[in-house]
């Protein structure tokens, strides 16, 4: 009798807290109110800066201020309380050319530390470059300064926070922007004649009040996905294509975990670039899977009956455990397109407009030379499991990320083959900072075409072999899973590129 009473006390004390009927509906807006409270007043900013959606280099210099703020954003007619760069979703698009100098005055108006990662740029990983080990404290200002290398492949790069353990929270809150490098591909006549559109795909997990769900209520093991899906900060925006013309869609997946299986009604895709690097010739695809961090460039032919065509994301199963479960009840179903990835999601609508003279597809793009054979071969096994002292964690070669430990050491100006092996039950997009790689094979089957990548999907059960050259820059950088919750939970390694 006494025992039972004790156990009930124990339970009450340690287990049941909260009302019995409330479920897990938590007042996340209070958390938001707290994090943007009086301690962190909204700093008065330059209005002209806030309205600038495009910032282009002038006379060889790209100079701007970027401020990370809490900001109210109108998403589909409702207010959402998000994290923004210069009060915009997505952040302003930066554009530079090879050889340009870049100077970014960064201000952290968040209540937590942050930093910037220049995903896809081939710049030094240290100092004021792509230094993901910087902790920029609240209210702190810092100037990033680097040159766009002549060895940079022109195309789509992007910037986002990369502070380990806060990356997913900050990126899924909205912090992301395009960083476009103009170059050779833009000068091919057919591509120059095509209508260019940028699409930044972001999803936000919002409650009925428009507040972000706190991280600890999100399905972190699977990687959080949002219930509101936006393209350029809009729900189902429209783009136009000219009859007989070409539309060039330049797409970034800036979501922290969501995969997009892209499909456009009646129109095949002609893939011309991956992760900010051109292919050798267009590749025709009926659908295309875009995982977090990846970028693609697609040409669309305006050769159908004029009308409206919907760009969708089709269902894709990136893990077999239904781990999004429960979110339907936890999150307000405001938009009506709560995402469980079991139904197609409307991303955008393409409308035909007036006819132009026929533009053909380009036949040749930019040649890609093969990398020489590797000096070294390494294996990276991706999975999750228990680790002593940490408990459940995401692991590379059985180890979670440890900040003060160099997991992989390579020599600058050498070539290596990396075998990426997924022995787990979820797909993992693997990203290497600073240097791009070529995909050699998947499960021993050679890739059908040559391509440069910096993020590659390794499906569950799959082995992907990549070849990477560590060019130009020395210093400590990182590789990790681009499902950013997996990165934050340990699926990351430090990569030291040492001098020869």
């Amino acid at each position: 009798m006494r025992n039972i009473n004790l156990y009930q006390m124990n339970r009450r004390q340690f287990i049941i807290i909260g009302t019995a009927t409330a479920g897990i509906a938590l007042a996340s807006h209070q958390i938001f109110q707290r994090i943007k409270s009086d301690q962190f007043p909204v700093i008065k900013t330059n209005d002209s800066l806030d309205s600038q959606k495009l910032i282009v280099s002038k006379n060889g210099l790209l100079e701007t201020t970027l401020e990370a703020n809490y900001q109210t954003i109108n998403l589909g007619g409702n207010n959402a309380y998000l994290l923004t760069y210069n009060r915009q979703i997505p952040g302003p698009r930066l554009e530079a050319r090879l050889g340009d100098k870049v100077r970014i005055h960064f201000v952290n108006n968040l209540s937590q530390p942050t930093n910037l990662h220049y995903h896809g740029l081939h710049i030094p990983p240290t100092g004021k470059g792509d230094n993901v080990f910087l902790h920029i404290k609240p209210k702190e200002k810092i100037t990033y300064e680097f040159d766009i290398s002549p060895n940079q492949s022109p195309g789509i790069a992007w910037y986002h926070p990369h502070l380990h353990e806060l990356t997913a929270e900050q990126v899924s809150g909205g912090l992301a922007g395009l960083f476009v490098i103009r170059g050779q591909l833009d000068e091919i006549p057919e591509i120059k004649a095509a209508k260019e559109e940028f699409l930044v795909l972001q999803d936000f997990a919002l409650d009925d009040e428009g507040n972000l769900f706190p991280s600890n209520q999100m399905p972190l093991m699977m990687g959080r996905e949002g219930n509101i899906i936006t393209v350029n900060g809009q729900i189902n925006p429209s783009f136009s294509i000219s009859k007989n013309g070409l539309l060039r869609l330049r797409i970034l997946n800036a979501s922290s975990s969501r995969f997009y299986q892209l499909f456009l009604e009646s129109h095949p895709f002609y893939l011309i670039a991956n992760d900010g690097a051109s292919l050798e010739k267009p590749v025709e695809l009926s659908e295309l899977l875009l995982t977090p961090g990846e970028r693609v460039e697609l040409l669309i032919k305006g050769d159908q009956i004029p009308g409206q065509y919907v760009l969708r994301s089709l269902p894709y199963n990136r893990g077999s455990m239904g781990m999004m479960g429960g979110m339907g009840r936890m999150m307000g179903n405001r938009s009506g397109h709560f995402s469980n990835n079991q139904k197609p999601i409307i991303l955008a609508t393409i409308n035909y407009n007036s006819s132009v003279n026929l533009i053909n597809l380009p036949t040749q793009l930019i040649p890609i030379s093969s990398l020489p054979g590797p000096q070294k071969v390494r294996r990276f096994e991706l999975n999750h499991g228990m680790f002593p002292g940490m408990g459940m964690a995401f692991l590379i070669n059985g180890e979670p990320y440890q900040e003060n430990y160099i997991q992989t050491q390579v020599t600058v100006n050498t070539v290596e083959d990396w075998e990426l092996i997924n022995t787990g039950v979820m797909d993992h997009p693997f990203h290497v900072h600073i240097n791009k790689f070529q995909i050699l094979s998947r499960n021993g089957i050679p890739e059908p075409y040559k391509t440069w990548k910096d993020t590659v999907l390794v499906r569950r059960g799959e082995t992907v072999r990549i070849r990477i050259a560590f060019k130009d820059f020395i210093g400590k950088t990182a590789y990790h899973c681009h499902i950013l919750d997996h990165e934050d939970l340990g699926m990351m390694g430090n990569l030291e590129i040492k001098s020869s």
Partner: protein, 185 residues
């Protein structure tokens, strides 16, 4: 009088429970070939609060667990259930989808492993004490579920990371109610 006595000795009991658990080490391999790593010199030893028994139970203890062979956290949950006295028939299968279908576990209730006891479905990382309470009550339901894989649940312990979660009860008409909720634990 009994109640005040309980309140007094509660901290002592908790203290004992913590000391008792320090002897336990979790070293579980996710897959057969994965090496066990123990290069963290002074790694903290993990223990789980879930293993202390707070619910008495005299009913049937024979439980069948279906799980993927590669699911490490499922194995840890099996160990948790065993520590509470359940006798586990551990069935490893690659076709979990048909198990979920057979036992009417909808996608929003799904987790990794599925356990069956007394004709009830126990889906995911449910604390064993809740299963005991449910089986004692024998409600007219299909069973219980902790959807997804919240960090901190039994078999999903992750140091200080403890996500709030609920144990849901569900019935044949698709109705779902909160059986137990864990905000802080």
């Amino acid at each position: 009088m009994l109640k005040s006595f309980s309140q007094l000795i509660l901290p002592i009991i908790v203290g004992l429970a913590v000391v008792g658990m320090i002897g336990t080490v979790y070293l579980t391999q996710t897959t057969g070939e994965q090496k066990t790593v123990n290069n963290l010199a002074n790694s903290t030893i993990l223990a789980s609060n879930w293993d202390s028994i707070n619910e008495s139970y005299n009913g049937n203890k024979e439980m069948t667990v279906y799980r993927s062979p590669s699911c490490g956290c499922c194995g840890l949950w099996v160990e948790h259930a065993e520590k509470h006295g359940f006798k586990i028939k551990d069935i490893k299968t690659d076709d979990m989808a048909s198990i979920k279908q057979k036992y009417q576990i909808t996608s929003d209730l799904e987790s990794c492993h599925t356990a069956i006891i007394d004709g009830y479905v126990m889906e995911g990382h449910i604390p064993a004490d809740d299963i005991k309470q449910f089986l004692t009550e024998k409600p007219n339901m299909i069973g219980l579920s902790v959807p997804g894989m919240p960090l901190g649940t039994p078999g999903m312990e992750a140091g200080e990371k403890k996500q709030p979660f609920a144990v849901f009860a569900f019935n044949k008409t698709g109705a779902i109610e909160v059986f137990q909720e864990y905000q802080n634990y």
